[in-house]
Amino acid sequence: MATEFPLRLVTPTGVVFDGTVQQVDAVNPLGEFGVLADHVDYITALVPGLLTITLPDGTHHFYLVSGGIAEVRQGAMTVLADDVGLPAPADEAALSSAAQSALEKLAGLSLYDAGYPEAADEIAVFRARIRASQLAREQGRQA
C-alpha cells in the first residue's frame, strides 16, 4: 500500500506547493480532518484554519488558509485555497480578545441570519492565527 500521495496547493495567484506528501490535515465545517494515501474520492469546503502537510521524511509544513475547497480524486489531492499565508508570530493576547468579541457578536446571531457565516469565519480566522503564531514561536525555539 502506498504511503505517499501527490498534493497540489494552489491559490488564484499561483501554486504554493506541488509535491509528494504523507499526510495532510486541514479544517472543514465539521472539524479537523486528515487525508492519507489511498483516501476515497472526497470533496469538502475548507474553513479558515491551519493546513498541515507532513512530508515523507516526517517534517511538517504549516500554512494559514483563509478558506477554499479540497478535493481528493484518484489518489491525488488538490487544495484550492482562497489565500495562503505562512505562520508568523503575532500579538496573541490581542488576537484572543478579538476572537472573544467576535464570539460575543456571534452569540447574538441566529444560524439563519445573513451575517452568520461571516461571523463564524471571523472567529475561525482569529483562532487559526493564534495557533499559527504559537507554532511559529515553537519553531523559532527549536531552530
Partner: protein, 288 residues
Amino acid sequence: MATLKAIRRRISSVKSTQQITRAMKLVAAARLRRAQEALLAARPYHEALHRVAGSMLSAERAALAPAEDARPAGLILVIASDRGLCGGYNANLIRRAEEEARRLRAEHLEVNLFAVGRKAADHFKRVRVPLAGESINHAPRLATFVLARALASRMLADFRSGAIREGGMVYSQFRSALSQHPAYERLLPVSMPEAEVAGSSQTQYLVEPGRAELVPVLLRRYVEASIFHALLEAEASEHGARMTAMDSATNNASEMIQRLTLEMNRARQATITRELMDIVGGAEALRA
C-alpha cells in the same frame, strides 16, 4: 510654404511626442509581461476549479437555475480599462457589450450594465444608458482577487434574490500582444462545457458537509475565479493593445519627422538658391 522656423518647431514637437509614445510603449511592454505572468500563474487554480466545479455542479441543475419568479433581467459586467491611448481596445469592447445588450433585449430581458473601468463608465454616461453600478480607478492593477470577489458577490446576490435571470461579462480575451478578442461569457445560470462534464462525471465523491452546503461554496468560488480570470485577460489585453498602439504611434512620428526634415531641407535649399540668385543678379546688374 511653411517657413524654416515653423518646420523646425514642428519637428521638435513631433520628437517630444515620439519620446512620450516610446516611453509608454516600454511601460506597456513591461506591464504586459507582468500581466502575462499573472495569467500563467492563475492557470492551475482556474483549471482545477473548473474540473471540480464541472463534476459537482453539472449534477445540480435544479439548485443552479434562476429563481422561478425572477425578474426578466440580465446583468452584464463590462470590463474595460481606466485609461485610454490603447487603440481600439475600449471601443471594440463597448461595441461587443452593446451587441450583447441587444441580444438580451431581443429575448425580452431588461439589461443592467455594470461598468468596470472609467472608459466604459464614461461611455455609457455619455450615451445616457443608466448603469447598475460602476467600479473605477484600479491603478496600478486591475486584476485583483478582491475586485473579483466584490463583482462576484454582487452578481450572485442579484441572482439569488431574483433580480436577474442571467449574469455574464464582456471582456477582452488575450490572444497575443497584437490580437485581443472581445467576448461575452455567461456565468449564471452556470452551464458547464460538455467536455468538462464528460471527463469528470464518473467521479463519485464523498461530500462533506453535504451537497446542499457545498454547492453554494463551489458556485461562489467558480464565479469569483471566472471573473478573476477575465480581469487577468483584460489586463493583459489592455497592455497588449496599448503597446501596439504606442508602437505604431512611434513609427508614425518617425515617418512624420522624416517627411518634415525633407521639407525643411527643401526650404533651406530654396532660401540658399534664392540668396545666390540675388547675388548673381546683383553682380550681373553691376556688370551691365
